[in-house]
């Protein structure tokens, strides 16, 4: 990771100089204060300047967008990247534009393929693996919210009726959402059964 160390009369000045050298904004970096400035005696003796180390933060979302744009341009897709953010190991990108039907493909095949390849490309040579989630006009986000609500409703039903519920076959991403939303419920356990692509989540009571 690119980083610089700079001195200045005050911590603020040192940071400012470092940001200028890196050509970066305050929110793109992490800052360590290595030495606090001291005024010294009568402003002369033992006077010390501040020393800071400023490091450019890892921004996987920028890399994802860079590669994604190249691929979409090659595909001659009319697109606009509406949002790209990185949090908790997941880069989420939302794409909008005129060719979104084509980009999603039949049953989401094209979008899932693109997402899968993006994940491979971005994680090449990376120690801490990140997940890439591509969305088109918040299609997945809306489905995800629906799925969360469904999982909660079904868990209530399981508690009420004392019977396990088997959900429809879902992709690993979808199953993960169900497991995650119910993992903190002390009365419920979830697991998957069956083989891909017919793997299903089972919601049942914890014994």
């Amino acid at each position: 990771m690119e980083s610089v160390e700079k001195r200045g009369k005050s911590v603020d000045e040192a940071i400012k100089a470092a940001l200028e050298e890196l050509g970066a904004e305050f929110e793109d970096v992490t800052i360590e204060i290595l030495e606090e400035p001291t005024k010294g005696l009568l402003g002369v003796l033992g006077k010390k300047s501040a020393l800071v180390r400023v490091t450019l933060r890892d921004k996987p979302e920028a890399k994802v967008v860079e590669i994604l744009e190249k691929i979409l341009q090659c595909m001659k897709i009319d697109y606009r990247i509406q949002a790209a953010e990185f949090s908790e190991g997941v880069v989420r990108v939302n794409i909008v534009g005129n060719d979104m039907g084509l980009l999603i493909g039949r049953k989401g095949e094209t979008l899932n393929s693109l997402q899968f390849l993006m994940g491979l490309i971005v994680n090449r040579g990376r120690e801490d693996k990140i997940r890439v989630m591509l969305d088109v006009e918040d299609y997945r986000l809306k489905r995800e919210q629906g799925l969360r609500e469904l999982a909660l409703r079904l868990s209530e039903k399981v508690k009420r009726t004392n019977r396990s519920v088997v959900m429809r076959p879902m992709t690993p991403q979808e199953r993960r959402i169900v497991h995650t939303v119910l993992q903190n419920d002390p009365a419920i356990v979830t697991y998957s059964q069956g083989e891909e692509p017919n793997r299903k989540v089972v919601i049942s009571l914890k014994r």
């Binding site: 691929i71 090659c74 001659k76 493909g105 393929s113 693109l114 390849l117 491979l120």
Partner: protein, 76 residues
């Protein structure tokens, strides 16, 4: 389309300089041949051909935009 397959392949392999992509254009169909270093074959095919399948899906979408059919072949 050739550029697309080339871009993806080069981004996946360890030896991008050995990636070769040729395109044979027909009236309604396009054949793309992808050649990579022997050690990189796995990187463009993947477990159960998952990577190859994804590359084909993207090429198919790009071809559909031009009203064409495409087949991507990975050759030794």
């Amino acid at each position: 389309m050739r550029e697309l397959v080339e871009l993806i392949a080069k981004s996946l392999v360890d030896q991008p300089e050995l990636v070769e992509v040729t395109q044979v254009e027909g009236e309604k169909s396009v054949i793309i041949e992808l050649k990579v270093a022997p050690d990189d074959m796995g990187k463009v095919i993947g477990k159960q051909g998952k990577i190859a399948k994804s590359i084909r899906a993207l090429a198919k979408a790009a071809a559909a935009k031009e009203g064409k059919r495409v087949s991507v072949e990975i050759i030794k």
